[in-house]
């Protein structure tokens, strides 16, 4: 039986949808059977990020209302034939789905697929409740900004209250140059504040925007991009592998600098 993983953040615009798309493609690249559910009803976006917007016939609301079978609504990816998308409805609102319906759907899908990734809408209302209802695990996406980290903290509390403890953190859009200057919170700062486990750090990278323009998630591009590598690493960690973290910047303590000056460090 597979696992249902919700990708959430609280704040909008931090990269939930991009992350969902990249993890989905990355898992499918390793041969896993994957379904991506866009739970952002009324504001669907995962379809365009995946480049599948022209193939939608049925959507999530059609499935839960019984207008079609789940299989009929699933859109097969262009490149990876073990990857499927269940798109959100665009013309309905979040109340068109209940947490119970989501729970049932997720339970059904994980019978047949290895991973069911749920792209959660921003906010903490009904859409969030729906998205987490059927989840076994949660990934929280944040950026190194006060607003995003604050909202992530709130989400961690809500997930705990919903018995989704031990969420893993993805820090997105980190800028090593700004961290070096002391103008961006670093990984340790954020982990100290949120006190949860890290599962990956994605550097800010224009290749993500370029690949989203084309509707081809960056994880599949073998163009040597650091963001693609970072996503591939997260994919392997999601599967339970122990993968070392990319070193995006150096922690230069006075001690290590002195050692360098004195020629002691290797």
């Amino acid at each position: 039986m597979g696992a249902v993983i919700v990708i959430t953040s609280g704040k909008g615009g931090v990269g939930k949808t991009t992350t969902t798309a990249n993890l989905g493609v990355g898992l499918a690249m390793l041969g896993e059977k994957v379904v991506l559910i866009d739970a952002d009803i009324g504001l669907r976006n995962l379809d365009v990020v995946m480049g599948l917007e022209n193939r939608i016939v049925y959507d999530l609301v059609d499935v839960v209302e019984g207008n079609c079978r789940p299989k009929q609504a699933l859109i097969r990816d262009k490149r990876y034939d073990t990857l499927f998308l269940l798109p959100a409805a665009q013309t309905r609102d979040k109340n068109a789905v209940t947490p119970e319906q989501m729970k049932k759907l997720c339970a059904e899908l994980k019978e047949e697929y290895d991973f069911v990734l749920v792209d959660c809408p921003a906010g903490i209302e009904q859409g969030f409740r729906n998205a987490i209802a059927g989840a076994d695990r949660a990934l929280i996406v944040t950026t190194p900004e006060v607003s995003a980290v604050r909202d992530a903290d709130r989400i961690i509390g809500l997930l705990e209250a919903a018995d989704l403890g031990d969420p893993k953190l993805i820090i997105n859009r980190l800028r090593p140059d700004m961290v070096k200057r002391g103008d961006m919170m670093d990984i340790e700062d954020i982990l100290e504040i949120l006190a949860i486990d890290l599962i990956g750090v994605i550097p800010d990278d224009e290749k993500i925007i370029i690949s989203t323009n084309r509707g081809e998630p960056v994880v599949a591009n073998d163009n040597g991009s650091l963001s693609g590598q970072a996503y591939r690493n997260i994919v392997r960690r999601v599967r339970g592998e122990n993968v070392p973290f990319l070193q995006l910047y150096k922690n230069s303590s006075i001690f290590s600098r002195l050692k360098k000056i004195m020629g002691l460090s290797g």
Partner: protein, 88 residues
């Protein structure tokens, strides 16, 4: 502390990331405490329980709140004491 932080400290400057971290820390103290009223109520009950070992507390006149004061969060407890127990 790294070299940059040391130089900043000497120059009396602060990295903007440290300002961000401090502000976040404070705002989260407040967020976490205010999100659930039960949380503060629980703290109040436990404080009364501990203090009651030594003093008789007028629980009706006991107030606990959290506020910011000069860059730190402060937990303020005002406990009305009815009587103090005789030390053994």
């Amino acid at each position: 502390m790294n070299l940059r932080a040391l130089l900043n400290a000497l120059a009396g400057k602060q990295d903007s990331k440290d300002i961000a971290k401090e502000r976040l820390r404070l705002v989260l103290v407040h967020d976490r405490a205010s999100v659930s009223p039960e949380f503060m109520e629980q703290i109040k009950e436990e404080i009364i329980k501990v203090i009651s070992k030594y003093m008789e507390i007028d629980t009706a006149n006991t107030v606990i709140n959290l506020h910011k004061s000069e860059g730190t969060a402060v937990l303020e407890a005002n406990l009305a004491i009815k009587a103090i127990r005789r030390p053994g």
